[in-house]
Each structure stands twice: as C-alpha cells, then as structure tokens.
C-alpha cells in the first residue's frame, strides 16, 4: 500500500450523516458526546493517515477522508437552552460516519 492511497470519499458538502454509535476501547478520535448524533457535512477536509492507527505506531493507510460536520446544538444536548440556530462543527473521519 502506498503513502498516497486514499479511501474514496463517500460524502459531499450538504449530505446528512449520522455518527456511528460505537464505544470501542483504544485511541478514538471521535468525541463521546457526538456518537449517534446526526449532522450535515460542512466541507471535505482532505484525506489523512488514520490517527487511530498512527496512535499504535502503525501506518494508518489507506488515508481516511476527513470531514467537518456541522451539528445543531439542540440535536446534541437534550437540555440545550440556547438559540435554535446554534451549531457546533467537529472534524470526523469517514469511518465514523454513516449515511
């Protein structure tokens, strides 16, 4: 496998996605509080070696597409009392996202 090989991007800006609701042991780069929540792809950020593999001194290849995903705060927190239009952006690797 070469340094340049990447997993094909599955999503585009504007696509609705759901973060996988998984709780594995190990170095996980997806925050706990966002797992299982739904948001919208804000942008494609490029493809990078998977940090969850790099953390164990493995090459992390092929590169994983990374996206900035926008979530409504009201969708993230059950008791959110702020404005309805408030959002939070989180950068999430593709293997943590589902259509």
């Amino acid at each position: 496998m070469t340094q340049t090989e990447s997993v094909a991007p599955l999503f585009r800006a504007g696509d609705r996605v759901r973060v996988r609701e998984a709780y594995p042991i190990g170095h996980v780069r997806t925050p706990y509080y966002i797992r299982g929540k739904s948001g919208v792809i804000e942008r494609f950020c490029g493809a990078y070696p998977n940090p969850e593999e790099l953390a164990y001194a493995r090459p992390g290849l092929p590169k994983q597409p990374l996206y900035r995903v926008r979530f409504r705060q009201a969708d993230v927190w059950e008791d959110y009392r702020g404005k309805d239009e408030d959002t939070v952006d989180i950068e999430i690797y593709q293997h943590w996202l589902q259509p």
């Binding site: 940090p51 969850e52 953390a55 927190w77």
Partner: protein, 119 residues
C-alpha cells in the same frame, strides 16, 4: 474483529460506558479560571523534545495522545500539561524500543546522584 472475540466477551464490557478519562465534553465541571503563566525551562525542553522526535519519525502526536489518555483518572487530573507530555513521550520511546526501561532507570539514578551531591 473475529466473531469468537465479540461473542466470548459479550456482556464483559458495559456497552455504552467506555469513555476515555480525557473525553470530557459535556460533563459537569468546575468553573474555568483563565490565567496567563510563563513556561518553566523544563516545560520548554519537553516541547522541544517532542518536536525533535516527530521530525526524526521516532513518534507521532497520536502516540503522545494515546499514552496521555491511558493515564489513570487520578494521575490525569493531578499531573500538569507537560508532566503528561513527558510521561507519554517516555512511554512511547519504551514501546518503540528507542530506549529501554533499564537505560532509563540507570540514567535517572545518575541524575539523582548528581542532584544529591549538589545539595
């Protein structure tokens, strides 16, 4: 993951409770008091060491993070930022075989003896 693994350990791990000690987004916390402070010389040296090890491909920032996250909750809370860093750098270099525990122990003893002599 092999099917045997997942079925054998079914029930061993509570499904929704594995949360890293560092992964605190959304949890209740004490009031945050922002303050400016200078870095001690040793802290700057730890930062420089990380830069050098990264450039020489002897470790990644991801290994740094993983080893910091593997601290127990009590140690994680009590240790300062760069104390966590030097702990994680040391762990990584041992894991990669860059240094041995024995080399590290001998060197710490040398430094301790030097400090004791000076006092």
């Amino acid at each position: 993951m092999p099917a045997l693994f997942s079925s054998f350990f079914a029930g061993a791990l509570p499904m929704k409770t594995f949360r890293g000690v560092h992964d605190i987004g959304g949890l209740p916390a004490d009031e945050l008091v922002p303050s400016e402070h200078d870095y001690a010389l040793w802290e700057k040296r730890v930062d420089a060491l990380m830069v050098l090890l990264s450039r020489k491909n002897l470790m990644t920032v991801d290994e740094l993070r993983r080893n910091i996250e593997s601290l127990g909750a009590d140690a994680y809370d009590k240790m300062g930022y760069y104390e966590r860093w030097i702990y994680a750098i040391t762990q990584t270099l041992i894991q990669r075989g860059v240094i041995t525990i024995d080399e590290l122990g001998s060197r710490i003893a040398d430094v301790q003896a030097r400090v004791d002599d000076a006092n």
